[in-house]
Symmetry: D2
Subunit: 408 residues, 4 copies
């Protein structure tokens, strides 16, 4: 046997992650991928859950590990998966988040406009594919659901993909919200390929229900936690304010990469047209953003310096949730208080008092379904089985309104 | 009952951490303490163990939790501990790492010279004490071992303090090196106060042995891991090079706080004499350092840009360990290769090729002992009991030599 | 401080359980309680889940531990609980299962007729109370919901009692069905007393939902697992057959205590009237039953020996589940096959082929409710909150029919 | 692909155990193997650690699982292992404890004399092999170290076999002594075959050290726990007394299998000569022993009834440990007290007061070694490496004397 390079990485969530293919090694070593070490998976959630410091690097390694397990399980049940497909699917999952910027959701509506991280992922994978002389062709086909063996794409992206399995496990683990932990190992053992699609065996029904309920719990208890919403909204306001100041030519401390996005308009068109834009984007990470915010706490613009000082010192906005939109009067009242207290203009007060909405669907019946394969060969969606838990309630979208303002 | 503010923080390591005293709240909210959110506990160990992203903030919260447990346990066994002492001891442990800078061990020998983090902790606690009108007087007495109830200091700092218990547990947990996990809950239940000193009950002997063996394992497997040594030595070289360039007046991208320490000499005297120095120190964290390193990767100084690019992309030096010092010839040979490959001077090559030593004592018989209280009332050090595991071997200091150089 | 005897028991589920009151010590040492060491909590579930060997002794110790935690938590929130009430509530939970016989559910319909384990618990606690000179008066009041502080009873017995919290955690833990694990520690921290009743704080809603969903999962995946149903139904048939043979005066190997119940009719009346009956009951445990079954495997009665050999060697009946009652024809067909294969009479074949039903309600809206205390002071049942998970589905009773027969 | 029967068993220690070979299925289904379900792995340790109820069945399934992992790991590193060898090695580990009787160590010196469980295992495997027409030939060769690929035997039985890995993990897990838990998954990944022998890679040294230290801890804290010693010594005295009474023709309640061993002399010769002896042995399990003890609590022989009542109600002997033999005077003094209190003869008092020794070697340098394979290709025993933890201390045998007597 020729010996092949083989590396084992410790992972507190999954135990040990094994890497043993030269293409995987070169992908992981690439600066585009190493950059993910400097982007926190959960943005500012560590303001509430101090353990939530894990990175997108670690998450995608974990999802890669689950992909390895799933493929080996499916193969054990007779699914036909070539070695090339295996490597391609693993690379697809490693790359699924490559286009995320720092504090991704905040960034997408401020520094870059109208460009989703999915689009940037596409551009980056294509760029990597050119660099790797087409080694990612099959990866791209799977990623974009253009490959006949549909289950490979479903493992990368569907209601039951390894991405969700990893991030729910990992986020629960690192936040310490142990109720969100899912038993991915049992779910993996219940996966099966039927008519080319990914399904779950009948006896896995209750595991899937728990998976969906755990997701619902994580949304309400963690991802949409009021204090997390508060911190992330403050970050959006900071970036909007900084961009507004930059557009007026006011000098702001910034790394070169951050400066690139602050002092010009960057939208979808620029990304597609200008290679430099993508190159600069790949230099951006949490260090650029938070490093600047710390310095901006002493900027002469009062709105910017207040917001930055508060965020750095964790003096966060108060957030109130409601099932109904907030009365315009309430908003005006709070703006009045804020204007008066810090001597601000109307336009400035808008950065400190605002409303928005958050929403959640735990299981989307319209979207990709979770199919259950019964022993008698019939296939039904999890929401339409007898005695279903998820049908009536979890599939309904929930929308919450919230208002943010400083604690006065 | 008057209701008291009470907050629960999720901790994946200890479950839930409860905060319920106004003084503790105000300490934790202070910017000096919040800064610890932006300093990784394990510096660059995440280069090897990607999960090791936890912060000094989280570690000191965990140590605070263990302090709460230990005090409650000791009180349950009849130890006399007033509420004032309890709060003071808790604040002492919360503050025990307050003087750490970013990538502390690297920083101490580069940006600040001859000032240990312990000295800075002292200065900061004194500064906080003035701000809090003497509320930390008792905390300082315990911290500096000037308080008659010696066991309180021993809980903060000794061979068996809650600091070690937390960092060993936490570092094991986050790295995924599960063999380093210690059963702090059993050790806590075995603690006892005897003649004013902290001891361990006889039946806790094997737990203590395992604690010491786990520490030994963590040192060799994690803290002194070759690749961790490599990354941290590269960081030292980067900061030395940057400081050398700064001393020649060469312009370097830096946040104002980092600039303060780069462009002037700061030693112990400056810290004591100049309040501004302490204030600037408290603005420094990992974001200043790593944020600069990313930018320096494009600096025109070849040594600086090489080191910074390599570190950011995790192209780390090769480290070779040995029980003997390295031959001068080997060092010269590597320097020659490096000079030639990148066209460097002798002085420049010194930044890329160098040797140093690492050492470890798992249990220090000379230092503060771990005393065992036997059922018959006798007290003996763990290293001198019958059938001791730690006496002969673990107390011997181990010293390893290593050489670092780029992989060519 | 006078030192009080204090003992720590290791528990893999909860860590350490502390016992520190003389009354608790004497209760646990009593032969009635020690007997629970010899009764498996999950009867024959270990036929499917080999780890499920834990005892009723261990379960009630665990529930006692959760009671200690709950009381301390509620007290911390201002609930008025005297030391006497604390000890009484702890004794109530320790004793809640004292009336269980071996393989309880099988026994209740065979060896003893028409006497529930709850009734036997009552008789036993009263007997103990006489022996302990009234030390259990308050315990009995709490146990029987005659005590004004209603929340104490609710901790012992309600939809959210510590009994369920422990058995769900423990059964999940020992079976290895990790999806059934509940985060009792978070639920405990969310408990609160309001108007004398036990409630859950608003932010605990999702934890409660998960608790109820975990219960549902445990029912379908474990408690009503087809193979577990099979083994327990075989045990019922064995005991029915043995009793039938005994009533005909046929000699059967049996311990004296088992002989007592085999060779006479014992119903509610006998238990209440005859102290000896209770005394004999307290000598019965799993060893009497399984010890006899092993010997009966060589009895000359073919039905008895077949059933006993199969059960001892884990050759279990095939169980088929259905939403509809089974057709009489199917039953007759299987009886025919069985009669022929083993040369049995009609009456004998009835022991080997039979149907029954199993049912489950995960949350009973009619029964004791789980009340949520909202921040604004309102109280609502968990099934009637906005966006409730449990209302529509889990409260509906589910009934399944099954048929059992040997695998031919 | 032809589908093969495949079963998954939940194991709280290892997750899921997969069985997928017809020979393994038939072995596990055999009554000889099913009997292990009724033998507790840790005998009476549950008197101290109530969770320690797991069975020899479960342990050998766990060891089988670790064997599967180890073989797959070694194969992944290039070791040549045929499918036949794989199945044979798995059957060898499944059968390694097949000859254990109930409360094995107590039984070996009482009911059966001078026959070790290893010898009975041999006889049973040979008997099974005849029944299975030679399907266990290779298993026997591996088991008895007659197979050229020595590492297969070493996985079954050596200082680093999967037997120890499983029982240390499992015993720690079920007792709740979390400090004894070993990271078998890392050790498994460090195994390697070199010159046909099982070794550990250099970087696994610290894991092995921890494994050995964990074993030492489990011995002192669990296996040789004073109260466990007490219960097991009481059981020996009970069986000795019962056998003495039986030899005098006195009637004792007993199952037929127990009666077989009580009322005749059974030694090695009988086992080899008389097939019936082996057959009867395979009918014995914990239920025979404990079932009888419960009944004997009411026997007219005072020594027997006292011992049995005490053991059943957990009123255990006091045990005192010492490094020196006990003074004959102390023994005589206790015997005197006991004779007087219960009106016993000298010979009878010997059953209630006695001394014995317990001993332990955590690592046996003389026995099978644990070899470390260094990167440079050299091989050294773990006790002779640089800076070894185990050499000086753990290899020394430790012997403790103890005295047992009733608490008066």
């Amino acid at each position: 046997m020729t010996e092949r390079k083989r590396k084992i990485v410790n992972d507190p969530v999954h135990g040990f992650i094994t890497i043993d293919h030269p293409l995987i090694f070169s992908l992981i070593s690439h600066p585009f991928y190493q950059r993910l070490r400097r982007i926190h998976q959960m943005a500012l959630a560590n303001m509430v859950y101090p353990g939530a410091m894990h990175t997108r690097f670690h998450h995608s390694m974990g999802a890669y590990h689950l992909m390895s397990c799933a493929l080996s399980e499916l193969r054990g049940k007779g699914a036909d998966i070539t070695e090339g497909e295996e490597v391609a699917a693993k690379m697809a999952i490693l790359l699924h988040d490559i286009g995320h910027g720092p504090y991704s959701h905040a960034l997408e509506h401020t520094l870059v406009e109208g460009v989703s991280h999915e689009e940037i992922s596409q551009l980056l994978i294509q760029s990597l594919n050119r660099e790797m002389n087409g080694a990612l062709d099959l990866t791209l086909a799977i990623f974009n659901d253009r490959y006949p063996k549909k289950f490979l794409h479903q493992l990368v992206s569907s209601q039951l993909d390894v991405d969700r399995m990893d991030y729910l496990s990992r986020d629960s683990f690192y936040t310490g919200v142990s109720e969100g932990v899912i038993s991915y190992d049992r779910i993996l053992k219940m996966l099966v390929v039927h008519n080319g699609e990914l399904m779950v065996e009948e006896k896995g029904i209750y595991s899937i229900e728990k998976f969906i309920v755990a997701r619902r719990l994580m949304y309400w208890q963690v991802y949409l936690h009021k204090t997390v919403l508060s911190a992330e909204n403050m970050l959006v306001q900071i970036l909007l304010r900084a961009k507004a100041l930059a557009s007026r030519g006011i000098e702001l401390f910034a790394s070169p990469a951050l400066r690139y996005f602050l002092y010009r308009h960057v939208g979808r068109e620029e990304f597609v047209r200008d290679e430099e834009c993508l190159r600069q984007f790949c230099l951006l990470d949490d260090y650029d953003i938070m490093g600047a915010i710390k310095v901006w706490g002493r900027h002469e613009d009062k709105v910017l310096s207040l917001l930055c000082t508060w965020l750095a010192n964790r003096e966060l906005f108060k957030v109130t949730l409601s099932n109904e939109p907030f009365d315009a009067g309430l908003l005006a009242e709070w703006k009045g208080k804020v204007r008066e207290k810090w001597g601000l203009t109307d336009e400035e007060a808008d950065y400190l008092v605002f409303t928005d909405t958050a929403s959640l669907k735990a299981y989307d019946v319209m979207d990709e379904k979770i199919n259950i394969l019964f022993k008698d060969g019939t296939v039904r969606d999890i929401s339409s089985i007898d005695n279903a838990l998820v049908s009536h309630t979890l599939a309904r979208p929930i929308k919450k309104f919230y208002i943010c303002h400083p604690k006065i």
